[in-house]
């Protein structure tokens, strides 16, 4: 009898709690703060605490879940968030496979999603899904332009044997062809590999003018050091996913001279004052490092901040059309994000269109060279 009463009490309390939450705007967040994607997910989780607490007079509730970089856990999270918590929008996840898993639920439940990974989707599924990170094309075009300007004729490719490596390969191929540059060899490695000597030997013996390493964070340091140790003298290009303090620390001296395309927020103090992201970028880096310690900022946190910028622009528009917690509001929010024009984030400027749910242009990237363990902005 006692148990029954307790259960009744609990369910009533839960009912009241959920009703109270219904009046506000609920944002469901699923990030990969453990598992292989933890290097991305942890700074992103940190950045959630800095997202706006109130937009257009409405309180925003963030429900933060961890998907352990596991697509099936991400699906479960997304289902829980959409059915139990009735969220108005989904945020996440940190890497492409988990983001694609959430996208399935987003499309099915007609909930808008802002992914924090550059996940590609076929057009019919793209309707509810937006992303804050730059499309790989935006980054790749900067690399190819630099190669062309420097007279590079041949490139060796050493990338992850996963979706990230594949995306870069697919993006680079037509651009390189147009620029008259050839791949000498395409090699793959895994994040957890303890040696890339074989791949590096093959690349060095094919004598390319430049090498492109496609990897993220500190795992990108292994090919970098292996190439330098093997005496490779050509230009080494890294991708934006490698741009974090751990890469610089692990690669040490070997990283010097590497060139990579990155979001402007990483070198926010060096970009010209005319860049729209300069001011918000500086403010965000300052706020982040005040909360989590100097030197802890990572560009991944910036993508979560930019999701907040999109929300800040879209929510007031959607509020005029419908009440939060309804399917009408979710549809209105989706339309408002798709209509976002000149929304300034720390990584660049968003102009969403029905066919482009990435929204970033050339202002979303700069090229940098690694010098003495730091980044130096170079002209595109």
């Amino acid at each position: 009898m006692k148990m029954k009463k307790l259960a009744l009490l609990c369910s009533t309390a839960a009912l009241f709690a959920s009703q109270a939450a219904l009046a506000d705007i609920n944002v469901g967040v699923s990030l990969s703060s453990t598992g292989p994607g933890a290097a991305l997910g942890i700074p992103e989780k940190n950045a959630v605490a800095l997202l706006p607490a109130e937009i257009g007079g409405e309180k925003i509730n963030y429900m933060l879940l961890d998907d352990a970089t596991d697509p099936s856990a991400a699906t479960k999270n997304a289902r829980k968030l959409t059915t139990e918590d009735k969220v108005d929008i989904l945020l996440g996840s940190s890497v492409t496979p988990t983001s694609l898993a959430i996208a399935e639920v987003a499309v099915e439940s007609q909930t808008p999603q802002i992914a924090i990974a550059p996940a590609n989707l076929p057009p019919e599924k793209d309707r509810w899904v937006f992303r804050t990170p730059q499309h790989v094309n935006v980054m790749a075009s900067a690399v190819v332009a630099h190669m062309k300007a420097k007279g590079v004729k041949t490139v060796g490719f050493l990338g992850y044997s996963d979706a990230y490596g594949e995306d870069w390969l697919v993006a680079m191929k037509p651009m390189l062809e147009a620029a008259g540059i050839k791949f000498t060899t395409v090699e793959r490695f895994n994040r957890t590999d303890t040696s890339v000597s074989g791949q590096v030997l093959k690349i060095v013996s094919s004598q390319p003018d430049a090498v492109l390493v496609v990897a993220s964070g500190s795992p990108a340091a292994l090919p970098q050091t292996a190439l330098v140790e093997r005496g490779y003298k050509g230009q080494i290009y890294q991708t934006h996913a490698a741009a974090n303090p751990a890469f610089l620390k692990v690669a040490g001296k070997a990283a010097d001279g590497a060139i990579m395309p990155i979001g402007p927020v990483v070198v926010v103090d060096q970009i010209p004052d005319s860049h729209p992201s300069k001011k918000p970028g500086q403010a965000f880096v300052k706020a982040y490092e005040e909360k989590y310690g100097a030197g802890t900022f990572s560009s991944f946190a910036g993508h979560v901040h930019d999701a907040g910028s999109l929300l800040q622009a879209a929510v007031p528009v959607a509020l005029k059309k419908a009440k939060p917690g309804t399917s009408e509001f979710r549809a209105a929010l989706r339309d408002a994000i798709e209509g976002a024009k000149d929304v300034v984030g720390v990584h660049g400027v968003f102009n969403m269109t029905p066919t482009d749910h990435f929204g970033m242009d050339d202002r979303g990237r700069v090229l940098i060279r690694v010098e003495n363990g730091g980044y130096k902005l170079i002209a595109n």
Partner: protein, 345 residues
Amino acid sequence: MDLQIAILLGQDGITTGAIYALLALALVLVFAVTRVIFIPQGEFVAFGALSLAALQTGNAPATLWLLLACGACVAVLDGRTALARNDGRKLVAVLAANLGYPLLLAALLFAFSPANLPVLVQVALTLAIVVPLGPMLYRLAYQPIAEASVLILLIVSVALHVMMVGLGLLFFGAEGVRTPPFSDARFEFGSILINGQQIWVVLVSALLIVALYLFFDRTIYGKALRATAINRNGARLMGFSPVFAGKLTFLLAALIGVLSGVLIAPVTTIYYDTGFLIGLKGFVAAIIGGLASYPLAAAGALLVGFLESFSSFWASAYKEVIVFTLIIPVLLWQSLNRHHVDEEE
């Protein structure tokens, strides 16, 4: 592919193979004595490397707190038994080993800044911190179910592995580390360049294998462990405690794991979850040895190392597939050639 590339790949294969060989030996040893398939073996590699890196940045590694916590648990469990038996001397010994030792180590670390010590002292400190976790984990996780079936022991191993990977993420963060090499020496033979760390890896592995051989062949404890592996009940009747055998085995396994981690930390980047894959490849080698034969396991480890380095040259996208597919013909051959005696039934 010319001769020079083949030599370079072979050199790489020997270095990684040496590490796999050490881990394979540890896995065979643990299985033979305790019937535990020790999946967390790889975590000792990662914990060793990451603790050394933490020491070098001048921090007390978080594994020290794990040691304190595990020590406290063991002290409570064993101390209670000693109290119930009114065994004062045993109580003192238990407290000294499980509480006194970690606390002394912690005091030492805070008294001397570890960042400025010579590399070999840092390595010794790392061993002193991480290796005792082996017998403590045995006491906490395996000893209470020592008589259970292989399957149950395996499930506990998986649980322990998942727990240790999670703790690794909590302790060391998601990013990898690379420690400075023990020596910057480089040797050139014609066009072949061998760096000092590779020699360290191969030499220490070879030394350790010889030392293990001597231990099992010449010392009374080694012989007792071998006896336990052959017949647990027989060894017990001869007065050799299976609990002690288990602890000694886990001490050796942890020692091998941590030493492997310390050795490869300067040649590769180690992450909190790197250990699993390294351990798994050691496991492939151990399977080649039928989880029983030490020389076959060591040979298997070298085979895995070579296969890995040559396949990363020829078909880098299929490297892991090639290495792990190796296990299928080996298992087929073993199941056709062997009389399977299951002691469980």
